[in-house]
């Protein structure tokens, strides 16, 4: 019975890793970029299952929400922004109509063929070196499992991953929230969002589906944040689920959304880093060290911190999807040097 279980599990692992590798190869070598994006979405789905097999449910949850959920739409939206211009460009050249949209890129890659072979050989050598290095690592590797388990009581939460993230290595997480904010600031300063064109034929089915899903998504996001203290979950997963709600709102073109002022958005995005920083400073005052919490109230502190982080993570990820500063935020007309060439939809 037990050996049969091992055999089936090994078969599962083998099939899963072979499929992952095959998918990665397909997504990098397939001729069509849309196909590659679809492969990437499937890759994210299967990665979540691989994390489960590694007994890392927290990572699997983050991968399910971010890798399988959000990154695919990010790529799809970017693809559309790129392709629209290419299609317009093709109008000047009716001969090319049947060609692949990314033909330009294909041709250049074929020209660079000898160089490609050199790069491939170098990469293979590198891969061999890496595999050899991994092979000679002395096993079993030392780990921090015992130390983490020993200090779990002082951290204020029961989930070891959350304890490591927010208490033991709070610096990392603080800087990470800053990175998210920085990413959002970068995007907002690069471009303003070509705000969702109000497509003429929004289906009523979609609207009611979004209306049904939205409260449930928000509820689940909050539940995941709350649950992070003692089981799988936490600020990142909850935040990612919350951002999915915003992305759903963005893609179904609810009318009030583009007119919303960005001030609440900014406040929400800054909330997480701000709370984190003030907690850090509070730690200096009360405990004489940056980011240290009194063990008795640590649970409450961490929950507060997680809630704030989840809000700002959700808003930042949604800002990533929107891909720019909200247009309603601009005092004057958007920057228009060579607008005549671009197509303005819906206006």
């Amino acid at each position: 019975m037990d050996s049969a279980m091992t055999i089936i599990l090994t078969g599962f692992d083998l099939l899963l890793s072979a499929t992952l590798l095959w998918l990665a190869w397909q997504l990098l070598r397939s001729t069509d970029i849309f196909k590659a994006i679809i492969f990437f979405i499937c890759f994210g789905l299967l990665m979540a299952i691989a994390w489960v097999r590694m007994h890392a449910p927290d990572v699997a949850l983050a991968e399910a929400a971010i890798g399988a959920g959000l990154t695919g739409p990010l790529f799809l939206a970017a693809l559309r922004k790129m392709e629209r211009k290419q299609k317009k460009e093709r109008r000047f050249d009716p001969e090319e109509k049947r060609d692949n949209p990314d033909k330009r890129w294909q041709v250049r890659s074929r020209e660079a063929s000898p160089l490609m072979w050199i790069v491939a050989a170098l990469t293979l050598c590198f891969a061999g070196l890496l595999i050899r290095t991994v092979w000679i690592i002395p096993r079993p590797l030392p780990g921090l499992a015992q130390q983490t388990a020993a200090h779990l009581g002082a951290s204020g939460v029961d989930n070891a991953v959350t304890a490591v993230l927010l208490n033991f290595r709070g610096y990392d997480t603080m800087l990470e929230v800053m990175v998210l904010l920085l990413g959002a600031i970068t995007i907002w300063s690069i471009t303003h969002a070509p705000f969702p064109p109000r497509l003429p034929d929004t289906s009523p089915v979609q609207k009611s589906a979004v209306r049904l899903l939205l409260p449930l998504i928000c509820l689940t996001g909050g539940y995941l944040v709350w649950q992070g203290a003692y089981q799988t979950g936490g600020a990142f997963q909850g935040g990612a689920v919350l951002s999915a709600a915003l992305v759903l709102l963005l893609i179904s073109d609810f009318l009030w959304l583009p007119d919303m002022h960005s001030l609440p958005l900014r406040m929400g995005m800054v909330l997480g880093p701000l709370v984190f920083l003030s907690m850090a400073v509070l730690g200096i005052i009360t405990e004489n060290a940056l980011l240290r919490f009194p063990p008795e109230q640590a649970g409450a502190f961490l929950l507060f911190l997680e809630a704030a982080c989840a809000i700002s993570i959700g808003l930042s990820l949604a800002a990533f999807f929107a891909g720019g500063r909200p247009a309603s935020d601009l005092r004057e007309k958007p920057y228009q040097t060579d607008q005549p060439d671009t197509e303005k939809e819906g206006s």
Partner: protein, 100 residues
């Protein structure tokens, strides 16, 4: 094994052909509309039987509620997105396949 557990296993076994037929239909059916039909068989009936089976094995009401919620959510998501795809396909002028 108790009777609910056996019924649960049978229900999971019933679910598997639906998943298989979803995939086979995806591969064998001639056009996008019929493929949507195959897809929803796996989504609705297959997952429904699977979740029924798992509910019978579960020993916690909270888990049962979550499982049923998952099924309802998948129903909403799959019906809405299949509707959108079919609608857009019709608008783009893709003709439904007929026997001729």
């Amino acid at each position: 094994m108790t009777i609910p557990e056996i019924i649960g296993l049978v229900s999971i076994a019933v679910a598997l052909p639906f998943f298989l037929s979803g995939t086979v239909g995806m591969l064998r059916f001639p056009d996008i509309f019929t493929r949507l039909h195959a897809l929803t068989k796996a989504d609705n009936v297959g997952l429904g039987f699977l979740i029924l089976g798992l509910c019978l094995q579960a020993n916690d009401w909270f888990i049962v509620i979550k499982l049923v919620l998952i099924w309802v959510l998948v129903l909403i998501a799959s019906s809405a997105s299949c509707h959108l795809v079919a609608r857009r396909a019709l608008m783009k002028g893709i003709r439904p396949w007929t026997a001729q």
